[in-house]
Structure formats: structure tokens, C-alpha cells
């Protein structure tokens, strides 16, 4: 505050000061809201300047391709994070869905040929698993962290049971066509992930269910008092998350043409980070689909850029960590009363 402003402020009445303060706060809020976007722009600029290939169409396609699966995962996970909960079963669920779908479509180890129905079965089972997680979490009153971790273990085990050690290779022409197909140069898998994302965004922003999730994450007691069925909403969220995890698993299987329990390995935490980067909160009630998109994009671009730069993989993770801490510091609201744990 410069001196002139200081003097001016001293002369103001409290209510005038209050108005000034409210305006300042609103400004800060705006900055905070757009911080992820600003970060994205800066990142993109740095990427473009430092790497000549960064803006090449091929690299842009790469970025789109590489963000596809995180984007699909983020759809369900962002609902879970909005509740202030977590779902650690995503990785196991992905591995299971990927292994199952490989088992069901044309492959090298059996004579199944369920085609698109195989895909549907895998996704429905993912949805059912999510429902079970939600059910155990809400009805059993067990912290989501633990339930979902345990269910994740179970699903990983179940995935290996499907193929008993020798991962299944997918030979299905549909899978091959989808994984290699392009529309206007954009991979089908990316288009599918965008479609899933848009459906997720519509659910989040244009349905009563979406609003109920926001309400529960912000103030569970108040939400309950307006008559929202908390338990059912939470179970639905986990079902959705299981469903998108399964879709991600199927897509991953399409990408690699291989069914294996570790298809989902290390896929979840980067997405949590991406959601937080976009301004979401792990304690619930904050976030949005566009923000999530921006977050996933930032994360993918960062990884892509560091690869183009030839940075060592482990150092890459450290750099990512530091950038994330800085970004979150900038986007998190700070006042004395903020409670963090």
C-alpha cells in the first residue's frame, strides 16, 4: 500500500473501507480463478520458445493422445474429490477392465469374440465395482481411503486371475482400428476421451446430481437438511468413478492391445494432482470440469515438455512436484482462518 492510498484509507469510514476491501477480495478471487489458465498459457509459451517441435502438429497430437486417459479418469475422480473423498481403487479397476476386455474380444489366448459387448461388459463391471466401493464406504462408514485401497487390491488380484500370468494380446480388428484411427488427424481415442469428458462435464454442470455433489462437498449437513439423499448420491459418485476407470482401462487396453493388471499402474495420483492444479480441492466442494481440463492439460504439457527437454525421469518428477507446490500455493485461498490438514 502506498502512502497516498494509506492516507485516503485512513479517512474512509469503516463501511467505505469494507466496500474497498470487498472489491479487492473479488479481484483476488478472479486472479485465483484464472491462475491455472494463466499458468497454462505461460507453460505453453515457455514450451514453444524452448522447443522448436513443441507446436508441431505431431506434438500437439501427442499431447492430446497422452492426455486422453488421464482425462477419462479425471471425469469420475473429480466427482469423488468434490465430495472430499478419494478413490484408490481406480488403478485396480483399470487393470481389471483392461484385462477383462482383452479376454472377451478377439485375442490370442481364447476364441472369445464379444466385440463391443465385451467392452460394455467390462464397463458395467467397473460400474458395479464402483458401486460396491461406494456402498461399503457409506453404509459401512469406513473411510474411503481404506475401502477403495482394499477394493483396488482385490481388483488387481482379480485381473491377474483372468489371464494367469500371460497377459492377453488383443487381436480384435475393432480395437486395432480404433487405436490407430484418426479423424482430421486427431486420434479416435482422444475423441472418445473428449466425448466422455463432455458427458462428465454435462453431468457435473447440468444435472441435479452434479449440484448435489457440490452441495455435499461444501456442507454435508446443510445438504442433508435440504433433503438430498447423501448416501445415494455418494454411491452414484463412486459408481461413476468406477465406470470411468473402466473406460480408461478399456482405452488403455486399446492403446497397448494388451490386457494386464498393471494397465492402471501410477495413473491415479497424477490425475489428483492435475485436478488440484486446475483449482480443485482435495477437501471437497471446489473444482469444475473446465478447471479439471486445464489441470490435465497443464500436467500433460509439463511432462511432454520435460521429455522434449530430455530431463531425467526421476528429476522430472521432482520438478513436477516443485511446480505443483508453487502452483497450489498461488491458487489456494489464504487467510488466517483457513484450516488445512
Amino acid at each position: 500500500m502506498n502512502n497516498k492510498r494509506r492516507d485516503l484509507i485512513k479517512k474512509m469510514t469503516v463501511s467505505q473501507q469494507f466496500v474497498t476491501q470487498a472489491e479487492d477480495n473479488a479481484k483476488m478471487d478472479k486472479v485465483r480463478r484464472y491462475a491455472p489458465l494463466i499458468l497454462l498459457v505461460i507453460m505453453t509459451a515457455i514450451g514453444g520458445i524452448s522447443q522448436k517441435n513443441f507446436f508441431s502438429w505431431a506434438n500437439i497430437v501427442n499431447i492430446m493422445f497422452q492426455m486422453s486417459i488421464p482425462l477419462v479418469i479425471s471425469v469420475g475422480l473429480s466427482f469423488v474429490l468434490l465430495l472430499g473423498s478419494i478413490d484408490l481403487s481406480i488403478e485396480g479397476n483399470m487393470g481389471f477392465a483392461g484385462s477383462l476386455v482383452a479376454f472377451l474380444v478377439v485375442n490370442n489366448s481364447n476364441s472369445n469374440n464379444f466385440g463391443i459387448f465385451g467392452v460394455l461388459i467390462a464397463i458395467l463391471i467397473g460400474l458395479a465395482v464402483g458401486t460396491v466401493v461406494g456402498f461399503l464406504h457409506t453404509k459401512g462408514r469406513i473411510a474411503s481411503f481404506i475401502v477403495s485401497y482394499a477394493v483396488g487390491c482385490i481388483m488387481t488380484g482379480a485381473a491377474v486371475l483372468i489371464y494367469r500370468g500371460t497377459p492377453i494380446q488383443v487381436k480384435d480388428p475393432m480395437f486395432i482400428a480404433i487405436s490407430q484411427g484418426r479423424l482430421f488427424g486427431i486420434p479416435y481415442i482422444t475423441l472418445i476421451s473428449f466425448a466422455v469428458f463432455i458427458i462428465g462435464a454435462i453431468i457435473m454442470n447440468y444435472t441435479a446430481f452434479g449440484r448435489a455433489v457440490f452441495a455435499i462437498g461444501d456442507n454435508e449437513a446443510a445438504a442433508a437438511s435440504t433433503g438430498i439423499n447423501i448416501t445415494r448420491t455418494k454411491i452414484k459418485v463412486y459408481a461413476l468413478c468406477g465406470c470411468t476407470a473402466a473406460i480408461a482401462g478399456v482405452l488403455q487396453c486399446m492403446r497397448l492391445k494388451l490386457g494386464q493388471s498393471n494397465l492402471g499402474l501410477n495413473q491415479m495420483f497424477p490425475v489428483v494432482t492435475a485436478i488440484v492444479l486446475g483449482g480443485g480441492s482435495v477437501s471437497g466442494g471446489k473444482g469444475g470440469s473446465l478447471q479439471t481440463f486445464v489441470g490435465v492439460l497443464i500436467y500433460t504439457e509439463l511432462a511432454n515438455w520435460l521429455t522434449l527437454m530430455g530431463v531425467d525421469t526421476n528429476l522430472k518428477k521432482v520438478i513436477q512436484g516443485i511446480i505443483i507446490i508453487i502452483a497450489v500455493t498461488l491458487t489456494v485461498e489464504h487467510n488466517r482462518k483457513t484450516v488445512v490438514k
Partner: protein, 342 residues
């Protein structure tokens, strides 16, 4: 040929623990299968113990198994890491149970120093890595840009194969390595890396991969970019998908590590020692340090290998003939062992 246990020994009282990393990998599954076949052959019971590449978990599993079966336990171990081999040897020695250790051996660890450490069966990673790398370099005409996909940092197969790659480079001065990164044995990580490389290095001609899984990821990325065949890829391990890829010309070369051989014969050494039909103390120390047979796989022999290893799930080895698996002895190290023994 049949096998008869010595007088008074009932093989079915013995229990073989097949200690591998996980069931979630074709090569390890093959090892498990090979050791099971051997156990069946000798008539001993077999259990599989997995450790998810965790040193501590592996030792824990071994101790638990010893607790259960005492001196009737037998071990064939694909160790979680090289460093862990000493602990494995010591633990088994303390408990007086026989063990063969596969594919890894810490520096200074010799079977000769441990009466119950029957044999160390290794893959000659250096030779294999050099052979696959050279085949790759030849395939691209001995010059041009290549990139390397390394295994999980911190894993010693990854380290050995990287060293072999560097070694092979010495003979090819015109090969330029544009990037060398780890994809942590993961197909999906490898795919992402290769996607970026294709963009960044338009003149890339070859990709050396430390294992088949990553190589297959590279092939998928190339297929998507329409560069399959244009950029050559080499793998290692000999998993089914890779063998097929070699057959189809997607991979230049891979090496069939042959889990049936290394684990089956590893198990056989330990079982024979435990049943008393192999006199461990009487063996030449050098004979307990073995490099196992493996096969380089190119388009020429891919079909044979597939029918032998994949389709039958049993290559039909005679597990009573212990010498069958021996490619050569780990001779340089064997000499050192002799010195140590003196």
C-alpha cells in the same frame, strides 16, 4: 529318463518354493511353470511365492516357508534384487535348506562359501544385450540415430542391459544415441516416450529396448504414427507378443530368455541336492556358477520358438540331466571364486 530318489527318501515330503517377482509378467510366469514342471518330475510339492520386486517381502516369504517346512523346504529364487541374493543365501544357509538363485548374484557371493547355496544360474545379460543391440545396429545399416528405452532405474537387469548397449556402441562409431530414458519396464510409458521421440527426432532410425514390453509399446507408437518398419526396434525376454512381433517383422530381434530352462534347472539343482542325489560339497566350485542357455529370436527362428515355448507350454526338457542347461560357466568370476576359496 526317469528319476529315482535315493533309498529312504520320500520326495513328496519335500516342498519347493518358487520365489518370483510376480505372476503378472509372462517371463516370471514362465519361470514358475518351468520350476513346477521340474518339481512334478521329481515328485516334490511346489508353491509359488511372489514379492512384487520387494527385497524385504521376498526374505519374509522365504522365512515363512522355512518356518512351515523346516529342512524339508527347497528354494529356487529369482531374487528381487542383486543385493538381496546375499540375504537369501544366508537365510537358507542358517536354516540348512537348499537353494538355487537365478539371474542375479551379488559381487563376492559364491556358492562355494555356502554349502546349501547349490548353484547360481545366470543369464549372460552382457552377451544378450550386446547381441540384440548389434542386430539392431546392423538392421539400420550401422549408422544413424537411435534411442534407448531403459528399464526401471534401480533394477539391475536394467543396469546390465544398459551397460551392454553402451558396450555394443563401441563397435559402431557411426551410431548416434539421441536420447536414453527409462520407461520403467512399462509399455504405456514407453509408448508415450516414443511418441515424443518421433516428433523430436524425425531422423530416428532405431530404438533399443531393454525388454519386450517396452519394445511393444514402441511398436504401437510407431504403428500409430505410420512409421512401423521405418524405425527398427529390438527387444529382449521373448514374451509371446514379442515373438509374434518378431515373426511379423515389427521387431528386429528379441532374446528368448527361456524361463523353463533357467528356473526348471535351477529347481532341479536344488531338489537333487535336497534329496541327496547331488553331492554339492563334491562339486567343482566353478560348476556351480552357470550361464544358462538362451536363444536369440529373429524372423528366421521365431516360428520354432513359438511352437516350442508358447504353444505347448512345456518345451519337454529332461530335468534329470543337469548339464543340459549350461551354456557356459561364469568363468571369469569362477576364477575369482577359486581365489576366494584359497
Amino acid at each position: 529318463a526317469g528319476f529315482t530318489a535315493p533309498e529312504g527318501v520320500d520326495p513328496s515330503e519335500y516342498h519347493l518354493a518358487i520365489c518370483i517377482h510376480s505372476m503378472d509378467n509372462e517371463y516370471w510366469a514362465q519361470e514358475a511353470k518351468g520350476a513346477q514342471l521340474a518339481a512334478e518330475y521329481y515328485g516334490v510339492e511346489a508353491d509359488i511365492l511372489t514379492c512384487d520386486s520387494d527385497d524385504n517381502k521376498q526374505i519374509q516369504g522365504i522365512k515363512d516357508y522355512i518356518a512351515q517346512y523346516g529342512d524339508k523346504a527347497i528354494f529356487v529364487v529369482d531374487p528381487s534384487s542383486t543385493a538381496n541374493t546375499v540375504n537369501i543365501a544366508e537365510t537358507c544357509e542358517d536354516a540348512g535348506v537348499y537353494v538355487s538363485i537365478l539371474a542375479h548374484r551379488a559381487e563376492g557371493l559364491y556358492p562355494a562359501d555356502y554349502p546349501h547355496f547349490v548353484a547360481s544360474l545366470m543369464l549372460d545379460d552382457m552377451a544378450i544385450g550386446k547381441a540384440t543391440a548389434s542386430a539392431l545396429f546392423e538392421a539400420i545399416g550401422g549408422e544413424g540415430q537411435v534411442a534407448e528405452l531403459q528399464g526401471l532405474l534401480g533394477d539391475d537387469s536394467a543396469t546390465n542391459r544398459h551397460a551392454a548397449f553402451e558396450e555394443a556402441l563401441k563397435d559402431y562409431p557411426d551410431i548416434e544415441v539421441v536420447d536414453s530414458q527409462t520407461a520403467s519396464w512399462s509399455q504405456s510409458d514407453a509408448m508415450a516416450l516414443v511418441e515424443n521421440w518421433i516428433v523430436n527426432y524425425p531422423d530416428l532410425k532405431g530404438i533399443f529396448s531393454a525388454n519386450d514390453t517396452m519394445a511393444l509399446g514402441a511398436v504401437e507408437a510407431l504403428k500409430n504414427a505410420g512409421k512401423n518398419g521405418e524405425i527398427k526396434v529390438s527387444g529382449c525376454d521373448g514374451i509371446e507378443a514379442a515373438l509374434n512381433a518378431v515373426k511379423d517383422g515389427d521387431l528386429v530381434i528379441t532374446n528368448a530368455n527361456d524361463g523353463y530352462c533357467i528356473a526348471g534347472y535351477g529347481a532341479s539343482y536344488a531338489i537333487q541336492a535336497a534329496l541327496g542325489s547331488l553331492d554339492v560339497e563334491g562339486m567343482d566350485p566353478a560348476e556351480r556358477l552357470i550361464f544358462c542357455k538362451t536363444t536369440l529370436v529373429t524372423a528366421d527362428n521365431a516360428d520354432d520358438i513359438i511352437s516350442k515355448f508358447i504353444e505347448t507350454q512345456d518345451p519337454g526338457y529332461d530335468y534329470s540331466d543337469l548339464s543340459f542347461c549350461i551354456d557356459k560357466y561364469q568363468e571369469d568370476t569362477a576364477e575369482a571364486a577359486d581365489e576366494a576359496a584359497e
